[in-house]
Symmetry: C2
Subunit: 341 residues, 2 copies
């Protein structure tokens, strides 16, 4: 078992009236493709599970192997392979079509059934009595990617198992991009393995996605295509009202961002050739969103005043009567008055 | 503005596979009615908002003033006045009847409309198109208590305002029971003021509810009646499946417990003459429930093996396929091998 780290930094504050009500601590790293750290908070060597924030790394073998092109995948499918979507028709219909193109169906997925988070689809599923299915699982695009790679590799049906060729390829990509031997894995919400690394290693992988010049030609091409796909279809990566989609739509540059469960957030900044990774130690989404917004604003790729950024950076908390009762904000040590990074 | 405290203790861990994924820190105090600390974690002098965990203190003036008896309130209404209920018919019908008995109605409440958390009632409200109302607000029992007190005091309709006689009485009770002058207040989810104190002060108030022997006769009687009401009707205090209700039902003694938003939890142990208060600094419910279960088990009033306690003390985390992926547990420093306290 790993040591616990006790040196997390205060990253986010929750105020009610004039009193600090709650505090979120964590770790954050900004680094270059060679691993050089530009800025850090907490412990860069903290061991983390990247969870869904590493989906663009998990999708590398899909593209590099030639499986994506062999199956005729378009940019939308590549965006969905990196997505934690909310099960809107926008997402489920595309994944269903994708599977049909492979001669497969919903029953070939191994991600499990998740009730759709998308309001309209939740209402439709309830009204029609149709029930949720595996297509609604936020990872169904990633799993469609796994099935596409599996078709290419000729593996067995249980593509989510740790020793399956698909997952061996995913692990290799994760370790190569982080530059680390993973200390272990956990089973993710969708039943696929999720490999641990240091936060610094994960940030380095994000920097290599941002600046793939040091990678081999095949991986460079795959990285470039996946980041471009995320940027081109933000709504496919998450959905209406979600942080990843709205913040990408609000950033007038090539920055791609991705959240993961238990409050991980990653950013890929091609124009700055930087990678960003953060983990709130307590796993709270409001804090991860505030912290990534703070870093993106300080890095000059997000406008702190833009409503879709400000609503994460400095959200007002309202009660059942709509009265403003408090707010969330980055801690002084993270925000540093908004100073440029 | 208050200083932030940086000395929170690690109280709860979240594991996935063999790796610690998330950590929750916070503060906890166990003390006697005179304030003597029996055990502590983190900083006892941390300033907290008790939020809904202090509802039994906010209900003291309702009973002490004679308002409850003048209105003919029974034990069920007293339990509801201390409740954060989930808006089941069980709760809303009783509050509606209570208000009707005062010649008042839902429109006299000031808590705001909250969609019911109770599944059956949520389904009913959706199906009938009836819509949620203020009766569904988790605080509607507390507010019915405020209206009852207000009838007795003859105050104006805006009973939730800070200078209203009802809220002045509530503040006095909070300060007298904590033994502290409150450093400030915030507006709670239900629009009523919530007064801050140290965690130690709040634990002392809980100890005085557990052992009211040092209080005046009127307050002693009120404290005893409110704690007994919470114990007699656990389901009215929260609802089906909720920690407060299920854990009280699982404890074969007089212990009363109450949660509050942003991860506060309080316990009143009449048999041990102790009060317990804890605050998870990041505001996460799973951690507050785990930590209070750990303390109640170590204090000998809860059985760590009872399913309704174990499901908070050591919950297994499962994914969309039902596979066990990890677990929550008290941190070593909090659990201490389960040693008796």
């Amino acid at each position: 078992m790993t040591d616990r780290s006790t040196d997390a930094a205060e990253l986010v504050e929750v105020w009610r009236g004039d009193i600090l009500e709650s505090t979120h601590r964590g770790h954050a790293v900004i680094c270059r493709a060679d691993g050089e750290i530009v800025a850090e908070w907490g412990a860069p060597d903290a061991i983390i599970y990247p969870r869904s924030s590493c989906k663009m790394l998990q999708a590398l073998p899909l593209v590099e192997s030639g499986a994506a092109d062999a199956a005729g995948l378009g940019v939308e499918e590549l965006a969905l392979s990196c997505a934690s979507h909310q099960g809107a028709l926008l997402h489920t219909e595309r994944v269903a079509d994708w599977l049909a193109g492979l001669g497969l169906g919903e029953g070939d997925l191994r991600c499990g059934t998740q009730f759709p988070r998308d309001k309209a689809e939740a209402e439709r599923v309830r009204r029609t009595g149709e029930g949720a299915c595996q297509l609604h699982n936020n990872c169904s695009g990633k799993h469609a990617g796994f099935l596409t790679l599996n078709r290419h590799l000729g593996g067995g049906a249980e593509y989510h198992e740790i020793d399956h060729p698909v997952q061996r390829a995913v692990k290799d990509a994760y370790e190569e991009m982080t530059g680390e031997t993973s200390p272990g894995y956990g089973i993710d919400g969708c039943s696929a393995p999720n490999h641990a690394s240091t936060l610094h290693g994960f940030a380095r992988a994000m920097a290599r996605m941002a600046d793939p010049s040091g990678l081999g030609a095949v991986r460079r091409d795959a990285a470039t295509r996946l980041v471009a796909a995320m940027r081109r279809f933000p709504l496919l990566v998450a959905g209406e009202g979600r942080a990843c989609s709205e913040m990408m739509a609000a950033m007038p540059n090539a920055t791609a961002i991705k959240t993961g469960a238990e409050a991980v957030f990653a950013a890929i900044l091609p124009e700055r050739k930087l990678g960003v990774a953060l983990k709130i130690e307590d796993g709270t989404t409001r804090a991860a969103e505030c912290a990534i917004a703070a870093l993106l604003a300080r890095l000059g790729v997000a406008d702190a005043e833009h409503p879709l950024i400000a609503s994460r950076l400095n959200p007002t908390q309202r009660n059942w009567n709509g009265i403003a009762t408090g707010f969330v904000r980055p801690a002084p040590g993270l925000w540093a008055g908004g100073a440029a990074l």
